[in-house]
């Protein structure tokens, strides 16, 4: 990697992109999340044998912390739910009336690979249904050359069918096997953004700072007021040129068709994003998000050599603008597909892989620490806070469920008679159970909010299906371990050993409900 510009490090993907001391440091940073998580779990195991009393105290502290954390997060979740409902009921077009919005153009980029025509078409219909003049929306549909002729045909068919309705519609075909890229969404969407610049923005002389890019997963169906809402946030932001915009990802497209496990995971992801929406200082972009084109261009678009390009773009911009960059939560949803495969086992496998990809966002930790080291213009307080939030976030994501539902109980099994005759050993399950049971109220909050977010039940499903929407929350302790902690640990161990993960495209198969 050539160190010719001030921000030469902006698109570092992994340690092997660097050399010398930088490479070693970056490699150590890559190892950090795995080291902390495995170290914590190993500490529990070692303590369970050597000092089971200490391990038991830690388990009790963890379970107590879990309850307080649940209360704290539930407050945020409930508030964001209220705010989102409020925002969904607002007429955003009326709100922007007094603002100078006429020259704002939306650029919607849809990278896709192997998805069926119907999935793409439904996303386009969503754009047209939106209460925003489609003649102020440009669309880039970016297929992968690797996808073959079939993908190009789908793209051309979509262009033929929907192209004329928008200000501009371009089909891009991202070439395969470009040096310096990994196979994945980042390289495709980055290519599409540059295509948009040369084929749309330049010919039409559109001002980069008035073009808002919505990076949308191919299954993203926007809600009617999405563009109006986004425009309002853009125009009223304290510093619009230093802000990205994050809608709430709901997975409502096919939620009724999705199996219970998939629904729980989908809502859990949405709820986590809703909680983060009320904690904007902890928020990074995720999945479908929006960003001003000018800043995107100046940062060199999304990274083409990472798996988590959606969150990485925020850190690219944060480093590029010396810490003066933020994510503005929109508290307004977009809808995507929940994970559904033809078989239950297939769904299970897909959920695991999808969450491993998401939790592979731990790769950002090395990037954040490295760029913070290289960029002295970012205030130390901002560096410390951002690094702490990310490191603690990925550490707790992996360790807390595993401690509470697995290794935390190890002292009872391996503590030996010396520990097993103590009052502490008898009280450990009793006390921890009290806190964990009390934490279940968080699931009640989730179930209540989930029921209000779910779209109307299609006629082919009976009341039993609705009841399942409530009962499904009993699976959370299981899903937290199997589909959050373990894939997270898997991802962090891969990073630790330098067995880097490639991008895995979540198959989009079913679309039966809207």
């Amino acid at each position: 990697m050539e160190k010719t510009s001030t921000y030469w490090y902006l698109h570092v993907g992994r340690a092997s992109d660097l050399d010398g001391r930088d490479r070693l440091i970056y490699r150590l940073f890559e190892m950090l999340p795995g080291f902390l998580s495995v170290g914590t779990l190993a500490l529990f195991v070692v303590l369970s044998f050597s000092r089971p009393d200490l391990a038991a105290y830690l388990t009790i502290i963890f379970s107590m912390y879990w309850l307080f954390r649940t209360i704290y997060l539930s407050i945020h979740l409930r508030y964001n739910f209220k705010r989102m409902r409020h925002n969904m009921a607002l007429d955003w077009n009326a709100r922007i009336k007094g603002l100078k919005y006429e020259d704002v153009v939306h650029l919607a980029i849809y990278p896709f690979y192997n998805e069926a025509y119907e999935v793409v078409a439904e996303s386009m219909r969503g754009l047209i249904r939106a209460s925003w003049d489609p003649k102020k929306i440009c669309v880039v549909l970016s297929a992968e050359a690797r996808g073959g002729e079939g993908q190009k045909k789908i793209a051309m068919r979509i262009q033929e069918e929907f192209g004329s309705k928008f200000l501009d519609f371009q089909v891009a075909v991202h070439p395969a096997d470009v040096a310096g890229e990994i196979i994945g969404k980042g390289s495709n969407i980055s290519f599409a953004a540059e295509e948009a610049r040369t084929r749309i923005l330049q010919p039409r002389r559109l001002s980069y700072d008035r073009v808002l890019v919505s990076a949308l997963d191919i299954d993203t169906v926007v809600y009617p007021q999405y563009f109006a809402c986004l425009t309002w946030y853009f125009l009223t932001a304290e510093n619009p040129s230093r802000s990205s915009f994050q809608p709430v990802p709901l997975y409502n497209n096919n939620i009724w068709a999705a199996p219970m496990l998939s629904r729980v995971m989908a809502y859990s992801s949405s709820f986590w994003q809703m909680i983060q929406q009320e904690r904007p200082e902890k928020l990074a972009t995720f999945s479908s998000h929006a960003v001003p084109f000018k800043q995107l261009y100046e940062a060199g678009y999304w990274q083409k050599n990472v798996v988590s390009e959606d969150s990485r773009i925020f850190w690219n911009l944060f480093a590029r603008y010396d810490g003066n960059y933020e994510v503005i939560p929109m508290a307004y949803p977009v809808s995507m597909d929940a994970n559904v495969a033809p078989t239950f086992l297939g769904t299970t496998r897909n959920i695991y892989r999808q969450h491993r990809r998401w939790t592979y966002g731990a790769e950002n930790i090395a990037y954040i620490l490295f760029t913070f080291m290289k960029n002295p213009r970012i205030p130390f307080r901002k560096k410390f806070r951002a690094a702490f939030v990310q490191i603690e976030g990925f550490w707790s994501l992996v360790t807390h469920p595993l401690v509470l539902f697995a290794v935390g109980w190890l002292p009872l099994l391996v503590g030996g008679r010396g520990f097993n005759t103590t009052v502490l050993s008898y009280n450990l399950p009793l006390v921890a159970k009290v806190f964990l049971t009390a934490s279940l109220f968080g699931l009640v909050v989730c179930a209540a909010i989930g029921m209000q977010l779910v779209p109307a039940r299609p006629s082919e499903y009976g009341k039993w299906r609705s009841l399942q929407m409530i009962l499904q929350w009993a699976l959370v302790p299981l899903t937290m371990v199997i589909f959050t902690s373990i894939p997270g640990l898997d991802a962090q161990i891969r990073l630790f050993f330098g067995r880097y993960l490639g991008f895995w495209v979540t198959p989009k198969i079913t679309r039966t409900t809207k």
Binding site: I60, T422, V423, Y426, N427
Partner: protein, 273 residues
């Protein structure tokens, strides 16, 4: 509608942190067995855990009913006990009462497993051929011969139990010993939680034991002078001792999971254990 304000969030956060920090020492002290008693301040307490692997058994501690066992209720944990001795009684219709004195120590739990023996132990004569009576057990000739041959082979002088303990017959006495004191996993070797031994005498006295083995949750042994008995292997006071076939000269073998007693030439299968 504005996002949750920083001030509100800080209030929630600091409020919960304060509550957490206040609760934390209380919870940890409670979990360790500390209790606050007026006039005494914080005192260290202990507890008792009684495992009752039977249904409909009543558990009393110092004469007070602690509860009744059921399909889902097999364990009784009584905490907040001052260090002292406690009399435990487990009674169940149709069984001998089970009595135990447990010593409770600071921050420790004394545990025991109730051992209820039916008070209807019957010796059913074993005969071969077609059954002639409801009071006998008819077996095939080959099975009967199997039983007889089993008694011709000398009884083992030691057998191994489930938890690494073994029962020994030495010089006419019966002991249960731990092969490895470090592997101690049950409390029956402990007079109190903090003091354990590695040997429990089952029968040590004037009588001469001729065989012993683990059976039915206890130790079955035979003496020349008094016959066959079932004893509980527990170092603490008043372990269970029940006559199974109290006739001098009777010996036993465990064959295919059944307890068979030989008295003279007659064979009996023991039922009710």
């Amino acid at each position: 509608m504005k996002p949750l304000s920083r001030n509100k969030r800080r209030t929630y956060l600091y409020g919960l942190i304060a509550l957490f920090l206040i609760c934390l020492p209380i919870v940890l002290f409670f979990a360790s067995g500390y209790r606050f008693k007026f006039g005494f301040g914080f005192v260290k307490t202990g507890g008792i855990f009684i495992s009752v692997p039977y249904t409909d058994a009543k558990v009393f501690i110092n004469g007070e009913l602690a509860g009744t066992s059921g399909i889902l209720k097999r364990g009784f944990y009584i905490d907040n006990l001052a260090p002292s001795s406690y009399e435990i009684l487990v009674s169940r219709a149709g069984s001998h009462d089970w009595l135990r004195t447990l010593v409770v120590e600071e921050n420790l739990v004394s545990d025991a497993r109730a051992f209820l023996v039916s008070n209807k132990i019957e010796a059913i004569p074993v005969v071969y051929g077609a059954g002639v009576s409801t009071t006998t057990k008819a077996v095939s000739l080959s099975q009967y011969d199997l039983y007889r041959v089993a008694f011709e082979i000398p009884a083992a002088t030691s057998t191994r139990g489930t938890f690494g303990e073994s029962v020994f017959v030495e010089k006419g006495d019966v002991y249960v010993r731990l092969s490895d004191a470090g592997s101690l996993s049950t409390s029956n070797f402990c007079g109190r939680p903090s003091y354990c031994v590695s040997e429990i005498p089952i029968e040590r006295g004037r009588q001469a034991s001729v065989g012993a083995a683990f059976f039915g949750g206890g130790v079955i042994y035979a003496t020349k002078e008094r016959g066959v008995f079932l004893a509980e292997a527990d170092i603490r006071s008043t372990p269970v001792l029940v006559p199974v076939y109290p006739k001098p000269g009777a010996i036993f073998r465990i064959i295919d999971g059944s307890l068979i007693v030989k008295d003279g030439k007659a064979l009996y299968e023991i039922e009710g254990l």
